[in-house]
Amino acid sequence: MSIAAGASPGGLSAARAQMGFSLAWHIVVACLGVGLPLLTLMAEWYGIRTGNPAHRLLARHWARAMGVLFAVGAVSGTILSFELGLLWPGLMGRFGQVIGLPFALEGIAFFVEAIFLGIYLYAWDRMPPRRHLLMGVPIVVAGVASAFFVVCANAWMNQPRGYTLRRGKVVDVDPWAAMLNPAGPPETVHMILAALMVASFLTASVYAVALLRGRNDTYHRVGFLIPFVSGAVVTPFQLVVGDWAARFLADYQPMKLAGIEGVYRTGSHVPLTLLGFAEDERLRYGLEVPSGLSLLVGYRPGTVVRGLREVPRDQWPPVTGMHLAFDTMVGVGCFLLAMGLWLLLGAWWRRRNGGELLTMRGSRVFLLLAAVSGPAAVVALECGWCVTELGRQPWIVWGVMRVSDAVNPAPGLMAGLWTVLVVYAAMTTATVYVLRRMTRDRPVPIAPQESDVEDYSVV
C-alpha cells in the first residue's frame, strides 16, 4: 500500500487529532439529538394528557434547546463526512463503496429528521396539539435509525465483511453483509442506549442544579424527574448490553479485549484488574480480582483469554489509555445505576411514609450527585468511544488497512487541525453560552410563529 508514501508522521497525528476531536465533539451533540426529542415528546404528551402547563412549557423549552443542538449536530456531522474524504482518502478510495450503503440510509434518516424537526419546531401554532405531537415521532424514530446506520459503518471498521480484495482492488461487494456485520448489534444497541442515557442525565442535571438553588416548583421538579427516570430506566439495560459487547470482543476481536484488560499472555484464570497502568507487559498498581476476567468472559475460571503476545508488537493498541477509559466507563455506569436505585428507594419510602419526593432528608446529597450525573454520563460516553476507537489501533479497518495507509498525504494537515480547533472552540463557547441563557431567560419565541409562548406563566 504505497498510496500514502508521502504522508508525514506529523500529518498523520494531525489527521488523527482532527478526526478524534471532531468526532468526540459531534458524538455528545448527536446523543442529545437522539435523546432530547424523546424527552420533549414525553413532556408534551404529559402536557396534553394532564393539561398541566408546566409540562407543555417544558416541552417548549426542550424544543428550543433541540433546535440549537440539532443545528450544531447537523453541521458538525456534515464536517465528519467531509473529513472522511479530506483526512482518510486511502480508506474512502478503496472501501468507500463497501460502507456506502449505511451512509446512504443514514442520509435518508437524517433527511426525515431534519424535515420533521422543521415542522415540529415551527408549527406549534399551525396545527392542533395531537397532530403536532405526532410530527415529533418521526424525529425520534429517524434519530435512532441514523445512530444505528452510522454505528453500523463504524462496526464494519471493526469487523470488515462483504467484499473480496483481489490484487488490491475491491471486488464482489455485498453491501448488506458489510452493513450487517457481527459487530453491529452490540455496538449499535450500546450506542443508542448511551445516547438516551447522556441526553436524559444531562437534562436532569440542569434541573437538579435549579432545584439545589431552591427553585423547587412543579416545573423544575417535573423537569428533573422526566429525564432522570428515563435515564434510570435505561441504565440497567445498558450494563447488560455492555457485558454483551465485551464478550463479543472476546469472540471476535480478542486483541481489543486483551488491550482493554491488559492481558499479554494467553491463558486461563486471568484476573480482572481494576485501574492500574501498563508497564513491563502487565498492569501495575491496580486492584486484581483473581480469575475475574475469565469468569466474566466465559463464566468459568478456566476460560482461556487470549493475550496481546499473539500478535506482533506493532499491532498492539495503547493499553493504559484503553484500560483506564474502560474502567471509567464501567465505574460511571455503576454510579448511574446506583443513582437510579436511590430514586426508586426514595419513591418507595415516600409511598410508605408520605412527604414530597426530592425534598426529603438526604435529598440534597442526592440532587448534588444527580447534578454530577449528566457530566459523568458524558465522560462515560467519551471513554467508551475511546475504547472502541483506540482498541482498533493501529488498524483503520481491522486487520486489513492501517491508519497510516489511509491518511491524506497532502501537506498542511496541521494547519487544518489548528483552524478546526479554533472554530470548534468558538462553537463550543457559543453553544454553551446560548444554552445557559436559555435556562435562565423567560421563554422567548424561537420563531415568530411561537407567539403564544408568552402566554404561559412560569409555574
Binding site: V75, G93, A104, P409, A447
Partner: protein
C-alpha cells in the same frame, strides 16, 4: 448503465442543493447587505422567517450528494477531497459557522449577540458557496487527477475557472434567494420589501448573466475541453439557461413572482446540467470516465433501492414541510389562552 443512473440521481441531488441550499446561502448574502440594525430589521425578519423551518432540510442535500459520490464513485471522491483539501476545509468551516450561527441568532435575545451571530451567519453564507464554486471549477477544468492528493493543492482551486465558478456560485445563490424572497414578501403583503428584493433580484440576475458571458472567454482560454462541451453537446442547455434567465428578469419586471421563481430555478439548474453534459462521460477530466470510477453493481443497486424506498418517505415529508410553511399561518389549536 447503473453507474449512469447513480450519477443522474446524484446530479439531481446536486441540483436540489443548488436550488434550495443555494437560496439559503443567498438569503445570508442579502442578510449581510441588509443594512444596520433598524434599517435591516424587516429584511432580516423576512429572511429568518423564510429559511428558518427549511434550511436544515435543504442542507441535507449536500450530505446526500457527498454520500452518493463516495458510495457510487469512491476513487473520484478520494481524489477530489484529497486534492481540493483546502477549499473544502474552508467550505466545511463555513458550513459550521453558518448553521450554528443561524441557530444561535434565533435563540439570542440581546442585540450584540444577534449582531455577532448574524454577521457570522451572513459572512459564511457568502464564503461557503464561493469555495464550493471553486471546487466545481477545479473539477470541471480537469485539475483533479485520479489518485490520492495527486493534484496541486493550490492551483487546483486558485485558477481562472475556479474563480469564475466561485463568483458565479455566489451570484446565482444571491439571485435565487432574492427571487424567492420577492414571492415571500409579496405573500406578507409588504410593498417596501417586495420592491427592495425585486430590485436586488434583477440586479443579481443581470450580474450573473454578465459574469456567465465573461466566463465564456475564461473557459475558452483556461478549460478548453469544458468549453468545447458547452459550445457543442451542451449548447441547448446553455441556451435554455440564458433564455430562462432573461425570462425571469421579464417576469420580475412584470411582478409575476411565482413564475419568476420557476424561471430563475430553471436558469440555475440548466447551468449545472450543462456542466454535467459538457463533461460527460468524463468524471475526472480528461481520463477517468463514469464507468471507470463506478462502484460494483451490487453497491449501486443497493444504494439506488435504498434511496428509492427512502424517497417514498421523503417526498411526502418534504411536501408537508413546504406546504406547512408556504401557507399563511392560521391560528389553530395549540394556543392555550
Amino acid at each position: 448503465m447503473l453507474a449512469d443512473v447513480t450519477l443522474a440521481v446524484m446530479w439531481a441531488g446536486l441540483t436540489c442543493y443548488a436550488l434550495f441550499g443555494g437560496a439559503d446561502f443567498g438569503a445570508g448574502f442579502w442578510d449581510l447587505l441588509a443594512g444596520r440594525d433598524r434599517r435591516g430589521l424587516p429584511q432580516r425578519r423576512l429572511i429568518e422567517h423564510s429559511i428558518g423551518p427549511v434550511w436544515e432540510a435543504n442542507h441535507v442535500w449536500l450530505i446526500f450528494v457527498i454520500v452518493l459520490l463516495w458510495a457510487g464513485f469512491s476513487p473520484v471522491f478520494a481524489a477530489v477531497l484529497s486534492t481540493l483539501y483546502i477549499p473544502l476545509t474552508l467550505a466545511a468551516l463555513g458550513i459550521i459557522a453558518r448553521g450554528a450561527a443561524f441557530a444561535f441568532r434565533k435563540a439570542s435575545t440581546e442585540l450584540w449577540q444577534q449582531r455577532l451571530f448574524g454577521a457570522c451567519f451572513a459572512l459564511s453564507s457568502v464564503v461557503t458557496p464561493f469555495f464550493l464554486g471553486t471546487v466545481a471549477g477545479g473539477v470541471a477544468s480537469g485539475r483533479v487527477p485520479p489518485g490520492i492528493a495527486a493534484g496541486d493543492t493550490l492551483t487546483s482551486w486558485v485558477n481562472p475557472t475556479s474563480l469564475l465558478g466561485g463568483a458565479l456560485s455566489v451570484l446565482t445563490c444571491a439571485h435565487l434567494a432574492a427571487v424567492y424572497l420577492c414571492a415571500d414578501a409579496a405573500r406578507e403583503e409588504d410593498a417596501a420589501l417586495v420592491s427592495g428584493f425585486r430590485r436586488r433580484a434583477m440586479l443579481s440576475g443581470l450580474l450573473s448573466g454578465l459574469v456567465a458571458l465573461a466566463g465564456i472567454a475564461v473557459l475558452d482560454h483556461d478549460a478548453p475541453l469544458l468549453f468545447h462541451g458547452l459550445t457543442h453537446r451542451a449548447l441547448a442547455l446553455v441556451v435554455v439557461s440564458g433564455v430562462a434567465g432573461v425570462l425571469g428578469l421579464v417576469l420580475l419586471a412584470a411582478r409575476r413572482f411565482v413564475p419568476a421563481r420557476a424561471a430563475a430555478a430553471l436558469a440555475v439548474a440548466t447551468i449545472l446540467w450543462a456542466w454535467g453534459a459538457a463533461q460527460y462521460p468524463a468524471m475526472l477530466v480528461p481520463g477517468v470516465t463514469v464507468s471507470d470510477a463506478a462502484s460494483v453493481d451490487s453497491v449501486l443497486t443497493a444504494c439506488l433501492i435504498a434511496l428509492g424506498v427512502g424517497f417514498l418517505i421523503l417526498i411526502p415529508s418534504l411536501w408537508l414541510l413546504y406546504a406547512t410553511f408556504q401557507r399563511k399561518p392560521s391560528p389553530v389549536g395549540n394556543r392555550t389562552r
